[in-house]
Every structure is written in structure tokens, then in C-alpha cells.
């Protein structure tokens, strides 16, 4: 998985691409730390270029949500498509994390 991050006063956007699987645990840790260091209260993961996510990827998204909530930041998942959108639906992640089209 690769990402680019851009942050403004109110919102940080992370554009993700590739596959998000358990192998990305170190990269997700680094990403979460970067997100915690930005000012925005809305932390958006832009997923339109993310091709694949597995159950470990779901777990890492929940970890991100928890860590960000600890600093009063809201995690938002935006524009998930295809396989990623299906997995988010099956895992019922919308009950725990805000999902936007």
C-alpha cells in the first residue's frame, strides 16, 4: 500500500493506493502517527485507488479510528470502490466509521 498525505486547517486527506493487507502493519503505524501530527479534526482516507483490503486491513482501519478518536479527530473513509467497498460492507464497518461516497 502507498499513500500521499495533504493537510489543511480542518481536514487531512490521505490518498491510498495498492493493496491494504497485514503486510502493511509498519506502514499503517507510520501513517497513523503522521495523521495524529496534523491539525485537521477530519481525517479522510481517500480510497478510490485502493484495489484490495483484507480482514487485517479492516483491523488496522479500526486501530486508526481508535487512535484518532483519542485526539478528538474523526476518521472518514471516502470513495471506496469495487472489492474494497464490498469488504467494508460485509465487515459492517459503516457502523463504526463514517463512510462517504
Amino acid at each position: 500500500m502507498d499513500y500521499t498525505i495533504s493537510s489543511g486547517e480542518d481536514e487531512t486527506e490521505v490518498r491510498m493506493s495498492g493493496r491494504l493487507t497485514f503486510n502493511d502493519h509498519a506502514k499503517l503505524r507510520a501513517l497513523i502517527k503522521e495523521m495524529l501530527g496534523t491539525a485537521g479534526t477530519r481525517q479522510v482516507l481517500e480510497m478510490s485507488s485502493l484495489e484490495f483490503v483484507d480482514s487485517a486491513g479492516i483491523g488496522m482501519l479500526l486501530i486508526a479510528r481508535e487512535e484518532l478518536a483519542g485526539q478528538n479527530k474523526q476518521l472518514v473513509l471516502r470513495r471506496a470502490e469495487g472489492q474494497v467497498k464490498r469488504v467494508l460492507t460485509v465487515a459492517q464497518l459503516g457502523k463504526l466509521i463514517a463512510i462517504e461516497d
Binding site: 493493496r19 493487507t21 497485514f22 503486510n23 502493519h25 509498519a26 499503517l28 503505524r29 497513523i32 502517527k33 484490495f52 483484507d54 480482514s55 487485517a56 479492516i58 483491523g59 488496522m60 479500526l62 486501530i63 479510528r65 481508535e66 487512535e67 469495487g82 472489492q83 464490498r86 469488504v87 460485509v90 465487515a91
Partner: protein, 238 residues
């Protein structure tokens, strides 16, 4: 669906001399130099050094199996070739080789060279197979729990434990076996590991993990756990 007994052995980074030896042990067709390309039929590939960067191009050809040869003698490779007989597709990889490589994608690409699947079925098989392979590697062969909490510390602990276990040759060389076959209209995908089987000590109530079987169940028509959890059989409408 032709069985592996009609396949040709080819090597990818695997020494030609050893490939000849394995071919002789299996009584299979000799390597490519002796057989015209169009007559080779389906290819059972033995992977040696540096296969990772070359594999994608090779999977455009009809492929009946992938055997990663790390740590195996010629007889060991031949034994796995024999295990591949009768299946639509066979794969055997060490945990070390599986790490960082999207094996489920390769398997699906190989199956579809001889049996096209709809996009939906292809996606479902790929995800369920990926989850089964991860379970086999992490919880089976490496005997690991998943993330043990909703925290950065849990991620760090997971990473440290993963690196430590993958550095253990005994664990890293444990194999994951994938067998695909057709049962009438259905595709059966079997994934097996060399771990201890279902272990209550690995039970993890953390909210960060435990969704693997949920995803598998959503993708396949049915699944069953065999051999005390070392083996999962998944059924898909093909």
C-alpha cells in the same frame, strides 16, 4: 480439466540439471528444450531463485501448478509434483515465500488461463483464498495471534512478533499447500498448513481481528475446517 499427469515441468530460477532429475523421478515430460512449445500442454512450474519478478509473465501461459523449491531435495520436489496429480491447480510455498507476495492473485490468474471465471467469482475466490493463506501463515505456520488491541502498540507488537517468527527457519520453512479442483459445477479450493492446528491459546477477543472467517463465509458457498483446523476446504460456484 486435464490433470497434472499431462503437464510439462518447467523451472523458473531452478537449475536445469535438477529439473531433469525431478522430471525423471516423476516420469514427467522433459524440460522445454526437448518439446515444441505448442505441445507442452499445461505447465507445472518449479520455482527456484529470483522467481518473484518473473512469475507474472509466466502466468499468462496455461499453468497447472507452482512449487516453490526452497529447502527441498529433488525427491522432495518430486513428492510435491506427485501430490499435484489429479488437481486442476496445485501450489506449495514456504511461509517465507508467501510473505509480501500476493499468492492468491497468482493462483486465480493461473486457474483462469484454463477455466475462465466471472469477475464476481474471480474476486470472491481471490479474497477468500487470500484470507485462508494468511490464516495458514500467521496463525498456522507462525503460530501468531492477530492484533491484540485497538492501538499503535498492538500494531508494533504484531510487527515485532511477525519479524521474530519469520526469522526462525523452522517456522519460516513450514509450507502452505493450495489445491484447486472441480466437483461438478463447483470449484473446490483447499488450503493447508503445517502448524499445530486450532489452538485455544491463540484465541483473541480484540476488536481489531477475527473477521477472516466472516469474509471467507461471505465469499464462498460453504467452507469446512479439517485436520483440526490445519486445512480449510472452500466451495465456490464456478
Amino acid at each position: 480439466m486435464p490433470s497434472v499427469t499431462t503437464a510439462t515441468l518447467e523451472g523458473l530460477g531452478f537449475p536445469a540439471g535438477r529439473l531433469m532429475q525431478v522430471s525423471a523421478l516423476c516420469n514427467l515430460a522433459a524440460p522445454p528444450g526437448d518439446i515444441p512449445k505448442q505441445a507442452r500442454g499445461r505447465i507445472l512450474m518449479v520455482l527456484g531463485e529470483g522467481w518473484e519478478d518473473q512469475l507474472a509473465a509466466c502466468l499468462k501461459l496455461p499453468c497447472s501448478g507452482l512449487i516453490e523449491a526452497a529447502g527441498l531435495s529433488d525427491q522432495g520436489v518430486a513428492d510435491l509434483v506427485s501430490r499435484a496429480a489429479g488437481s486442476a491447480f496445485y501450489a506449495s510455498f514456504t511461509s517465507h515465500a508467501v510473505n509480501g507476495h500476493h499468492l492468491a492473485g497468482d493462483v486465480v490468474a493461473a486457474i483462469t488461463t484454463s477455466h475462465p471465471l466471472s469477475d464476481d467469482t474471480r474476486g470472491a475466490v481471490e479474497l477468500a483464498l487470500h484470507e485462508a493463506i494468511c490464516n495458514a501463515m500467521l496463525h498456522g505456520n507462525l503460530h501468531m495471534k492477530g492484533f491484540e488491541g485497538l492501538s499503535l502498540q498492538a500494531l508494533e507488537n504484531f510487527g515485532a512478533s511477525f519479524r521474530q517468527r519469520l526469522a526462525d527457519p523452522d517456522m519460516a520453512n513450514r509450507r502452505i499447500e493450495i489445491i484447486c479442483s472441480f466437483d461438478g459445477p463447483n470449484l473446490l479450493v483447499d488450503v493447508g498448513d503445517e502448524g499445530r492446528g486450532l489452538d485455544p491459546s491463540l484465541r483473541n477477543e480484540s476488536a481489531a481481528c477475527g473477521r477472516g472467517f466472516t469474509l471467507i463465509a461471505a465469499c464462498c458457498e460453504s467452507y469446512e475446517l479439517l485436520d483440526n483446523g490445519r486445512h480449510i476446504r472452500m466451495r465456490f460456484p464456478a
